[in-house]
Symmetry: C2
Subunit: 323 residues, 2 copies
Amino acid sequence: MTNQLTAYQNFMDLAIEEFKLPTSPAQLYEPINYFLSIGGKRMRPILTLMGSELFSGDYRRAKHASLAVELFHNFTLIHDDIMDAAPLRRGKETVHSKWGENIAILSGDTLLIEAYKQLNHYPSELLGKLISVFNQTAIEVCEGQQMDMDYETATNVTIDQYVQMIAFKTAVLLGCSLKMGAIIGGASESDAQDLYDFGINLGLAFQIQDDILDVYADINKFGKQVGGDILANKKTYLLLRALEDADAFQKEKFQQLFSESDQQLKIEGVKMLYSALDIENKAIEKMNYYHDLAIEKLNHISLPTEKKQPLYNLADFLLRREH
Amino acid sequence: MTNQLTAYQNFMDLAIEEFKLPTSPAQLYEPINYFLSIGGKRMRPILTLMGSELFSGDYRRAKHASLAVELFHNFTLIHDDIMDAAPLRRGKETVHSKWGENIAILSGDTLLIEAYKQLNHYPSELLGKLISVFNQTAIEVCEGQQMDMDYETATNVTIDQYVQMIAFKTAVLLGCSLKMGAIIGGASESDAQDLYDFGINLGLAFQIQDDILDVYADINKFGKQVGGDILANKKTYLLLRALEDADAFQKEKFQQLFSESDQQLKIEGVKMLYSALDIENKAIEKMNYYHDLAIEKLNHISLPTEKKQPLYNLADFLLRREH
């Protein structure tokens, strides 16, 4: 599994290196080159390669579409970082911290258009289909980002709303990445749709796992601070589920903890409430629910299991990080 | 002329009214609806309709492409207004003043994607061509905006750089609007390209006329403050040409006037220098140069003159406002 992933990653790193932008205006293109070079796991473009490989045995023909999803993803990161006033991304300065907001807005816009330019490499019989799924996804990602901003200050976010938000903000792009690969690979509409649904459900499971790991990960293996979501009062699946299941006394306790300034006390307090409400298990159950749905969709694709094995492996790999 | 323009304008107003966005998330779509409703002359989409009418006798089939250019144009305005920190647009509050920068960034992004959604209404034999010219134009518009920002603080902008900037920032979208109409109308590549070049040169002439009107317009007919560019030390064709032609003494005088705080003295001082350097005539000459190029391109299109008459009329109409 990891070998194959590494091969895809290398292919994408090279594709991004070969992706040449003009040098002028420098203030527009330098930030883009900088941001693309600080990396990331290239998960989305790899999904596009895998989607194409699955149906055609050839991942290379998905190069431009995989670049498109990676450029799109980086566009969203640059703009999201402005909106979140985030100073760092992947441990490096964000574009707006380094060059200012105006340049970050404009270089994000440019990346979005560059993504469409990549799609225009495909012949007309594929182009309309690719643009359709890409457009729909792009709009949903914007809607998801708006929901995320809305929910930050909202007081009564439901679990359904939360799932809808993470579906739009992150999971649909995984589905789209896979589906574009499938379209390029010549999949039937039904198979392409199943692969899309596999991606969505995998994305939901992955996001809930992320919520779980923030609280219960082994700090040495997780690689980021445990309890960060708790300290930020972030509305995660765990918190929303806990608030839904809590009795009046527990709800009151949560409210107190939201304004607790001692970090240790705050994390321990929330974890005790989670424990009393069995939240870790409930979250694992929800994660497994989406994981099972994803596998069901993958099972349904009309190809021999051995062909689909890399995607089964991927699901295992993504959903068994350090839990 | 004006009757036909009004008919196109009404068609576009209706098309924009019929263009339905979701109602939720409200914070994403309300700003878009607001901004589209505060209007503008719809000049770009009308060009698309005229391009299609010219070659096919049917402007209605260009509806989605004309919506695309109008949505794109509004995307650029919303983001430019953030970058310029502009409180007003068409006499109304800008999106970022009314809803904040984050929402203005995101609703601009959404409009750009909605523009691509409109293009995807066309059949595959047109789609690739439409997306090609649209992508190239969109990138150039971003580059033009970056040049504009760069030149604000640059001390030695040349006339060539200025022309390149206004070509990218405004003229290419006129060319693109016309060319997309031509493509939809079934024009040959050569005719479509001539129409594009007509649009570019018309746009350049129009922009230089705008620079002239800022200084020499009849205030009652121009509808905005005369001398605004002078007060802002804005690098217009007139100023750049004047600085290029000025002798050492006049250059020194310009430098003094840049920091003159008395508005009346500043405007009168710059106008006296312009007069000594014959700048009004030189600017009119440059405007006419692009106007003539535009007409030459229109002449070259392989259609009877009577068919092209509305575009000759349009050029007359746009370039003889109040001068």
